[in-house]
Symmetry: C2
Subunit: 455 residues, 2 copies
C-alpha cells in the first residue's frame, strides 16, 4: 500500500529533470546578474526541492541569495527583482521576491551568510543550515519523508502557517531522520504526551513550553515545532494509532469533501436543532499570516461575549472565502479580497429574562456591601447560597443574534479586522444561512458538520 502512495506522490524522473533544469537556470541567472553588477550574491537552492523530498506536483522553488555579514541585503533584492519578468515583492522579516518562472512558483530570498545557525541576523539566515543538515542525512530515505508528508497532508496536520498550526516540512524530515522510517515515526508518535522533547543533537540550551519540542539541530535554543498546536499534534497522534491498527489509503488521500446542497444543509439544521449563526464581513488587504491570527482572535472575542452573556457556544470555526483567481500570484483589487466568516453553533438562541449573579462570600463584608449596593432592585434576592450573596436580576440580552448585532462592532478583534467589522457585516441565523450559496462555504460547512479529522 505504501508503494501505491509513493507512486502518486514521488516525482517522476521527468518532473525531477524539469525542476532541476529550472533551478539550474535561475541559479545561473543570479550568478550572471551578480557578476554583471559586480556585487555579492551567492545563489542557494534550499527547501524540499534541494533535498529531493517534494511531493509530486508541488512546483515550488526556494532560492536564497546570500551576502556576507556586514554588507547590505538590498543588492541581493535588486538581483532577485531581475530574475523573472513576472514577480511581486512580499514581506516577511525582510522583503523578498515571489516570481513565476516557467510555471514554477519561485521565492527569491535575500539572506546573510552567517557562520553558524545559532548566530543569525534574520530568521531566513537559518534556512541554508537546515537544508545542509537535512541533505546530508536524508539521502536514501526520501520516500519515507514523502510518505510522512503526504500522511500529514491527508490528516490535515501539514503546514506550519498560523492557519494550520501543523508540522512543517523540515519538522517532518527531522522526524524521519531521527526514526529512519515513516512507520517508525508513527510508532513513536503513538506514545507522545504533551511536552515531548526530541533533541537529535542532544544540545538543547533552554526550556520550551510548547506541546512538542524538537530542538533545532542547527540552533540549540530553537524549537522547530514551536508553531505546532496541541490539537494538531494530537490529531496526528490519534491518526498514527489508527493507521498502525488498520492502514488505509484514505489516511493519505481522504475523499474530497462535497459542498452541501440546500437539502443537505436543511437536513443538518434539522438534525442538530442547535442555533447556527454566521457572521460575515469583508477581508482587509492583508496576507494569510496576518489575517488568520486576527480572525481567530475575533472568533474568541465573540465566543467570550456570548459566554459572558450566558450563551454557551458548542463549537465555532472560521473561514476565509478568498475568491482569488486560480493560479494565484497577482493580487487583485479590493474586489478580490474576499470575505471573512465566523461560524458559531450555540445550544440555545434565547435565554430567560431572569439572570443569577453570584456575589462574594458573605464574610467578605466590604465586597458584600458593594455587591448588594450595586443591585438595588433585583428581581429576587439577595439571598445566601453556599455562603455567597446571590441576586437575580434582569438579563440585558435574551437573544443571541440581538446581542451580536448590538455588540459585535465594539469588540476587540485585531488591528486590521476591527475597522472592517465596523464598516459593515452580515449576520445569518439558522435557515438564513441557506442564502449563502458559494461552494467554498458549502464545503466548509460539510467539513464543519462532519468534523472527522481522520478516517
Amino acid at each position: 500500500m505504501l508503494e501505491a502512495v509513493l507512486s502518486r506522490v514521488r516525482p517522476s524522473p521527468l518532473e525531477r529533470d524539469r525542476l532541476k533544469s529550472v533551478a539550474r537556470k535561475i541559479v545561473s541567472r543570479i550568478e550572471e546578474l551578480a557578476d554583471a553588477r559586480g556585487v555579492e550574491g551567492e545563489p542557494m537552492l534550499v527547501g524540499s526541492a534541494a533535498r529531493g523530498t517534494w511531493l509530486s506536483g508541488d512546483h515550488d522553488l526556494d532560492i536564497f541569495i546570500g551576502v556576507s555579514e556586514g554588507s547590505n541585503l538590498s543588492s541581493a533584492l535588486e538581483i532577485a527583482r531581475r530574475v523573472a519578468p513576472n514577480f511581486e515583492e512580499r514581506y516577511a522579516e525582510h522583503a523578498y521576491v515571489h516570481a513565476i518562472f516557467e510555471g514554477f512558483e519561485v521565492d527569491l530570498v535575500p539572506c546573510y551568510l552567517v557562520e553558524d545557525g545559532s548566530k543569525i541576523l534574520s530568521a531566513v539566515d537559518r534556512t541554508p543550515f537546515h537544508s545542509r543538515y537535512v541533505s546530508a542525512r536524508i539521502r536514501g530515505r526520501e520516500d519515507e519523508a514523502l510518505l510522512l508528508k503526504q500522511f500529514m497532508k491527508g490528516t490535515g496536520v501539514y503546514g506550519s502557517e498560523l492557519k494550520v498550526g501543523g508540522f512543517s516540512g523540515y519538522l517532518a524530515e527531522l522526524l524521519v531522520i531521527r526514526r529512519g522510517s515513516f512507520i517508525s515515526v508513527l510508532e513513536e508518535a503513538a506514545h507522545w504526551r504533551p511536552g515531548e522533547v526530541i533533541d537529535l543533537e542532544d544540545h538543547s540550551s533552554r526550556e520550551h513550553e510548547d506541546p512538542l519540542v524538537v530542538v533545532d539541530p542547527v540552533d540549540p535554543g530553537r524549537n522547530v515545532a514551536a508553531a505546532l498546536t496541541l490539537d494538531r499534534m494530537f490529531t496526528f497522534v490519534a491518526a498514527s494509532r489508527l493507521f498502525l491498527e488498520e492502514p488505509k489509503l484514505d489516511f493519505f488521500f481522504p475523499a474530497p469533501v462535497s459542498p452541501l446542497s440546500d437539502d443537505e444543509l436543511r437536513d443538518q439544521i434539522a438534525k442538530r436543532k442547535s442555533t447556527l449563526i454566521l457572521l460575515e464581513f469583508e477581508a482587509p488587504d492583508q496576507v494569510e499570516d496576518v489575517i488568520f491570527p486576527q480572525l481567530r482572535k475575533a472568533e474568541q472575542s465573540i465566543r467570550a461575549l456570548l459566554d459572558r452573556n450566558g450563551f454557551s457556544v458548542m463549537r465555532s470555526d472560521v473561514d476565509w472565502h478568498r475568491n482569488l483567481p486560480l493560479g494565484g500570484g497577482e493580487r487583485g483589487g479590493s474586489e478580490w479580497r474576499g470575505l471573512l466568516r465566523i461560524f458559531l453553533e450555540l445550544s440555545v438562541a434565547s435565554l430567560p429574562r431572569v439572570e443569577r449573579r453570584i456575589g462574594p462570600p458573605v464574610w467578605e463584608a466590604e465586597h458584600s456591601k458593594k455587591f448588594a449596593a450595586s443591585h438595588p432592585y433585583p428581581l429576587s434576592g439577595p439571598y445566601v447560597e453556599d455562603g455567597r450573596l446571590v441576586v437575580e436580576t434582569t438579563r440585558k440580552f435574551v437573544d443571541a443574534p440581538e446581542l451580536l448585532r448590538s455588540q459585535v462592532a465594539n469588540l476587540s478583534v485585531g488591528r486590521h479586522l476591527g475597522p472592517q467589522l465596523r464598516r459593515g457585516y452580515k449576520i445569518y441565523v439558522g435557515q438564513e444561512i441557506l442564502e449563502v450559496e458559494d461552494l467554498e462555504f458549502r464545503a466548509f460547512l460539510a467539513r464543519y458538520f462532519s468534523a472527522r479529522e481522520w478516517v
Copy 2:
C-alpha cells in the same frame, strides 16, 4: 425600638403566672404518680419556660422525668402517660409523651439522671444540664435572649430542626451569655467567618468541621451549632450587619407574605421567562425530621438528573403542604399526610438534539480507544479539542419535562419517599402551575420569587 420589640415578645405577668401554675400542677402530678406507684421519677421543668426566655405566645412546656442510671425508663414513661388524658406517644431516640394540658403543648420526656453532661446514656439526658447551665447565667439578661430569638425568627434562621438548619434556643442563649447583650451578639456575628469557634468554658475536646462551632459548656466533645448550615449562619451574619447599620422593626417582624394571586403568578412567569416545573406527590406517614432530609435528597437527585442531561437548574426549593388541622397534635389519617412539592426553575425547557461529549486526553491511548469505540456513529467527530477527543452525538432527552416524566420514578430519593414517588406524581410546567391553587403553595411561591432573606 428594642423596647417596642420587647413589649410584643416579653410574656406578660399574667402569662408567666399561668405558665408557672400549669408547670407546677404537672410537676406535682408526676410526684404524686411516682409516689403512688412507688417508683422513681424526678420531674424537672427544662427549656425556655424554665429559664424565663420563652417568646410570648409559645405555650410549650418541656418537663423531663428522671430515673437513676441502671434503672429502666419504662416506669417514667408509664407516669408520663397518666399526666394528661389527651396525649400521644412520639419517638426520638426513646419514646416520650406529647400531651395537651390546659391549652399548653407539653412534652413529657423520660431521661436518666447522669452525673455529668458528657456521660449521657441518651441525648435527652443532657438537657437538664443545659437548663441548669443557662438558668444560672441568664438571670437579668432574659430580655436580651428574647430579642435575639425574635431577631432570628424574623430573619428566618431560628430553629435547629432539619427543615430550617438554623439556631436552637439554647444556642441563642449561649451567645447572649457569652456577649452579654443582643446588640453585642450581632456585633460579633458581623465578623464571623466559616469555622468560627466559640468555647465558653475553654474546654473543647475535639475538632469539628462545622461552619460554626459552639462547644457545649456541659459536654466538651459536642458542638451546639452542629445543625446550623453555612447558609443559615451567613444569612444571620448578613442580617446582623444590615441591622447594625440601619435598625428596623421589620427585622423582628417582617411583613407577612401574601399568597400570589393568579395575576401575580402570571406576571412572575412572564417577567422571568424561565422554565418553571413543579413536581408533586403524596407525603409518607412520617414526621418532619424524617421527611425533610429525604425531600432535600430528592431535590438534589432531580437537579443532578437535569444537570447530567444538560439542563441547567437556576434554583429550586421544596415544600410540604401538610393540610394539618389547625392546633395540630392529633395526627390524622392518610388523607392528612399532605403533599410534597419540588419546585424547579430552569434556564431552558429544551436543548438542541446535538450533544457534545468530551472524552479523555488523546495521550491516554486505552481510554481514547474505548471512548471512540463507544461512539461508533457520532453526528460529528471524533475531533481533538484542547488535547481531548470530542464527539457530537444525538441527545436522548431534548425536553426537560419529558426527561423528568421518563426518569423520576427511577431516582434514588430516600427510603420513605421512593415508594411514594413510584406510586404516582404530577408534573406542572409553566402556566400549568396556575392550576395549583392552595394558599400555602401560593405563599411558598411568593417567598420563592422574592427570595429576600432579610430586609
